[in-house]
């Protein structure tokens, strides 16, 4: 029940993974970092892939862009997918720039029927190239739009229903957005179809008092661990990973944090069975 706990592969930990087996069930790689022509990144990727299952996680697809997807990006992503043979391929439910410009950020979409149609069209384009369901992650956000017609979780549900894509729920992002916009994170979790979720992210954030920033440079906080418990109760077991992008600690420290996730999942899911 507690298999399936992963970490994001970071360059700082290459040598740890090459030196000896680590108690990590799988690794998530940032696709964009390996969509390069050659050199050390791809050599390390191949060596580590030989010993660990992997999932691919992208940051630049811009699935909500009105302009549609970048064909060259999809082509390179497909080449990497064939190299890695990942369990699944994910990106974010957001947009990152239009008209050939890149903002290099995960900008939220308005939750409208029009945006749903755009995302549906783009997800279909990606799935056509990848020949597998795309997995989409909810982002942390700091703005909401006047024109939104539904909640974020309703929008996620509609995207799933329209495209057959899967969802990566970032528990920290749910927490951050719920704090910033004043919605119930429990309602969010309960609004997402159980069968749609393929992966959880757990991460830390920065608390600025009147708002939270999704920095991925802190350990997971107690409120997010609590929300993870709720998510486990609702979804059952889902492959889970700790996502740390900045202020990256030693691998043993991250593995200790992953062990907390394992223990919580064990505890919650055993109790759930007992009920």
């Amino acid at each position: 029940m507690t298999s399936g706990f992963g970490l994001g592969l970071r360059t700082q930990h290459y040598n740890d993974f090459l030196a000896e087996p680590q108690p990590v069930d799988w690794l998530e790689v940032i696709s964009d970092n390996y969509m390069v022509e050659g050199g050390k990144p791809l050599v390390m990727l191949d060596k580590i892939r030989a010993n660990y299952p992997m999932v691919m996680h992208g940051v630049s697809m811009s699935i909500g862009s009105i302009n549609g997807l970048d064909k060259e990006y999809l082509r390179k992503l497909k080449i990497l997918e064939q190299r890695v043979e990942p369990m699944w391929v994910s990106d974010h439910l957001c947009w990152s720039g239009v008209h050939g410009r890149n903002l290099h950020d995960l900008l939220p979409l308005p939750y409208t029927q029009e945006a749903l149609a755009v995302v549906t069209r783009n997800v279909e384009q990606a799935q056509e190239v990848l020949q597998r369901p795309l997995v989409l992650e909810n982002v942390s956000s700091y703005v909401e739009y006047e024109q939104s017609e539904m909640t974020e979780w309703e929008f996620l549900r509609e995207v799933y229903k329209a495209t057959g894509c899967r969802l990566l729920l970032d528990i920290n992002n749910i927490y951050v957005s719920s704090f910033n916009h004043g919605f119930s994170p429990i309602k969010f979790i309960e609004g997402v179809p159980v069968e749609s979720v393929t992966q959880f992210h757990l991460a830390g954030h920065l608390n600025n008092g009147d708002h939270l920033i999704d920095t991925h440079d802190h350990p997971v906080c107690d409120d997010v661990w609590d929300l993870y418990r709720h998510a486990l109760l609702h979804f059952g077991y889902v492959p889970t990973m700790i996502e740390r992008d900045d202020n990256i600690p030693s691998l043993p420290e991250l593995i200790a944090e992953l062990d907390v996730a394992r223990a919580i999942a064990n505890d919650v899911l055993n109790k759930k069975i007992a009920l």
Binding site: D32, M35, V36, E37, G38, G39, K40, P41, L42, V43, S60, S65, I66, D70, E72, Y73, W95, G97, V98, H99, G100, R101, N102, L103, H104, D105, L107, L109, P110, T112, E114, A115, V118, Y142, V143, E144, Y145, E146, Q147, S148, N180, H181, G182, D210, H211, I213
Partner: protein
């Protein structure tokens, strides 16, 4: 408001010279105002791109110091929207930008170009490299030999003691005072194994490598060198160079 208009307006708001309020972001009953919320994205855009420049142009940043570098990087971000999916390519025009901004301090753009080219070599295309046996095999076949540089091989020309400045910074030492060189020198940059490498080139070697890169046969390169360097024993010089190129893994197969 249609999605196309919203995305266009949002992007413009981030590119603007200051963060102005917009009417399509909800005013929330709690926390930050709509403008302050937009400001999070406005600042994050700048910080993220300046960080990328800092990472790519690490030696240039140390040479300039934090304040000056951040000011120049901020000006670059304001005037150069990213056109790359790969954020690592964002600094492509930064060396040129520095040359325009600092016409009196050309060593700075030379330093930046060196940082840029070394970074590009890091994850440039792979290729199998030629070894002595391969060359001997080709020679024994009797036909003309064409050498192909490894895909990461590139050159840059320096008019100042930029290489010494780069090396000093790289070793954590105080860089020497900038000085113009009596003659410009060419710097060869390529990747050997996992690591970007570089070294300065003597004039004759620079000409030889330029010939290799433009696809000349071995005999033709020899002829060019004999014409350009009449005082040099080209047969010996060229043999030494070839040997070194193979050792340094700059010729692909």
């Amino acid at each position: 408001m249609k999605l196309a208009e919203l995305q266009n307006d949002f992007q413009h708001a981030l590119f603007d010279t200051e963060c102005k309020g917009v009417d399509w972001i909800s005013e929330s009953a709690r926390g930050l105002s709509a403008r302050d919320r937009l400001d999070i994205y406005y600042n994050a855009y700048r910080i993220r791109l300046i960080d990328v420049l800092l990472d790519t142009f690490a030696h240039t940043a140390i040479y300039l110091g934090d304040d000056w570098f951040n000011q120049l990087a901020g000006d670059y971000v304001q005037t150069h929207p990213s056109i790359h999916k790969n954020i690592g390519l964002y600094g492509k025009d930064f060396p040129c930008f520095l040359a325009e901004q600092l016409p009196e301090d050309k060593e700075i753009s030379e330093l930046a170009l060196m940082d840029w080219k070394l970074r590009r070599a890091f994850d440039g295309a792979d290729s199998a490299v030629m070894i002595q046996d391969d060359l001997q095999q080709l020679a024994s076949e009797g036909s003309s030999i064409y050498l192909q540089p490894v895909p990461t091989l590139t050159m840059c020309t320096q008019h100042f003691n930029t290489l010494d400045i780069w090396n000093a910074i790289n070793q954590g030492q105080t860089p020497p005072v900038v000085e113009p060189l009596p003659e410009p020198i060419d710097i060869l940059i390529w990747r050997k194994g996992y690591s970007p490498h570089f070294r300065s080139l003597a004039r004759i070697e620079s000409v030889a490598i330029a010939c290799v890169c433009s696809g000349g046969a071995l005999e033709a390169i020899g002829a060019v060198l004999e014409k350009d360097f009449p005082d040099v024993d080209v047969a010996i010089e060229f043999g030494v160079m070839l040997h070194r190129w193979l050792d340094e893994e700059i010729i692909s197969i």
